[in-house]
């Protein structure tokens, strides 16, 4: 019943499509990078930092606490970045707020992190928010965020006052606007040297960008 058909050309064509498609995906995996103006990294609020002030390279992260890719980055890649680049003194890490309008619960989370920052606990709240993202996005956000504040040992009356005053809302909006002016349009985005990288990248890519920035610094 079946006709004998030579399938070799078909398999070759299919292989070519597979390789071309795979190459397209791999090429997108490095993150989209653009060169930003030299003066543009400055902003009214410099962000929350980790690491040594004397580090020769700064990585600026623009992130949204409700963004799943940002949480994924914080959980999967950030520990490596901290241990291999930040804790070794090579990199100073800076977090800047970039709440996306499509995320209705992001403003509360960014405000909570900023209020925790007033008590020197920004990074503790940062980790609570990203590691528990699924819970507070789906559940009662304010109640859960208050719970995280208690867990990290904040002085609760001061934290609640800061939240109800919406003390940092304007500053967060200004930070986001400054990011937009730099060309940030999605999260997470990173600025390393004069490169703006949209999307999460691997630890190897971070090291590559940091080495490039170190070489550029040495040449200056």
């Amino acid at each position: 019943m079946a006709q004998s058909v030579n399938l070799k050309p078909f398999y070759v064509a299919l292989g070519v499509v597979a390789v071309a498609g795979g190459a397209w995906i791999v090429s997108a995996a490095g993150g989209k990078t653009v060169t930003i103006p030299e003066i543009a990294t400055g902003a009214a609020f410099s962000g929350y930092t980790l690491g040594s002030d004397s580090a020769k390279v700064e990585i600026i992260e623009y992130a949204d606490f409700q963004c799943p890719a940002c949480a994924m980055f914080t959980i999967l890649t950030s520990p490596d970045v901290r241990s291999r680049l930040v804790n070794t003194g090579r990199v100073r890490w800076t977090f800047r707020d970039f709440p996306l309008p499509i995320h209705p619960k992001a403003p509360v989370a960014h405000l909570a992190a900023a209020c925790a920052g007033d008590q020197g606990q920004f990074w503790a709240m940062h980790d609570q928010l990203f590691y528990n993202q699924g819970a507070w996005v789906q559940g009662r956000t304010r109640k859960l965020v208050d719970g995280y504040a208690q867990v990290i040992g904040l002085e609760m009356s001061e934290f609640k006052q800061c939240m109800s005053d919406q003390r940092h809302v304007d500053r967060i909006a200004a930070t986001r606007n400054a990011g937009q002016q730099l060309g940030v349009s999605s999260t997470p985005s990173f600025i390393i040297g004069d490169q703006l990288i949209a999307g999460s990248i691997s630890i190897d890519k971070f090291i590559e960008f940091v080495e490039r920035a170190e070489r550029a610094n040495e040449q200056q």
Binding site: M1, A2, L7, A28, I102, V137, S185
Partner: protein
């Protein structure tokens, strides 16, 4: 062969959307569409799994089944065609539901999701046509040998 080719395109597309969703790719190339709005919505994850991953698994299943159906041991049998029509039928229903969510609930369009919906629709129609042709051929042979 048409199903295998379409399934490969669908697989690559779903893989792209899935890798982007889990944060391994840069900004999504979406033209004037609203891929980010759709992909960031709560409907982009089901049972804790990114929806695009269901596409990766589904298209891979279709690709493997269609290639298996081309092998000498299976080429005269109708089971691969039935399986292709079944998997793609489920895919069409799922894509239809996702397209409904885009139109009515999220109110934003992800053009890659629409391309995927078109691909799965074409696979379903092709698989149905193939199954129908096979059934007719079998009926003719059965009729002529009776």
């Amino acid at each position: 062969m048409a199903v295998a080719t379409l399934a490969l395109f669908g697989f690559l597309l779903a893989m792209y959307l899935w890798l982007w969703k889990i944060g391994l790719l840069g900004g999504i190339a979406c033209g004037t569409g609203s891929c980010e709005a759709v992909q960031f919505s709560e409907h982009a994850v089901m049972f804790g799994i990114p929806v695009a991953f269901f596409g990766v698994v589904g298209y891979l299943g279709l690709l493997i089944t269609s290639l298996a159906g081309l092998q000498p041991a299976w080429i005269d049998r109708r089971e691969p065609a039935i399986l292709l029509a079944t998997i793609s039928g489920v895919g069409v229903a799922f894509s239809g539901y996702l397209t409904y969510l885009e139109a009515v609930v999220i109110e934003a369009w992800c053009r890659w999701c629409l391309v995927s919906a078109a691909i799965i629709g074409m696979i379903f129609l092709t698989a149905l046509a193939e199954l129908w042709a096979r059934v007719r051929t079998e009926a003719l042979f059965t009729g002529s040998s009776a």
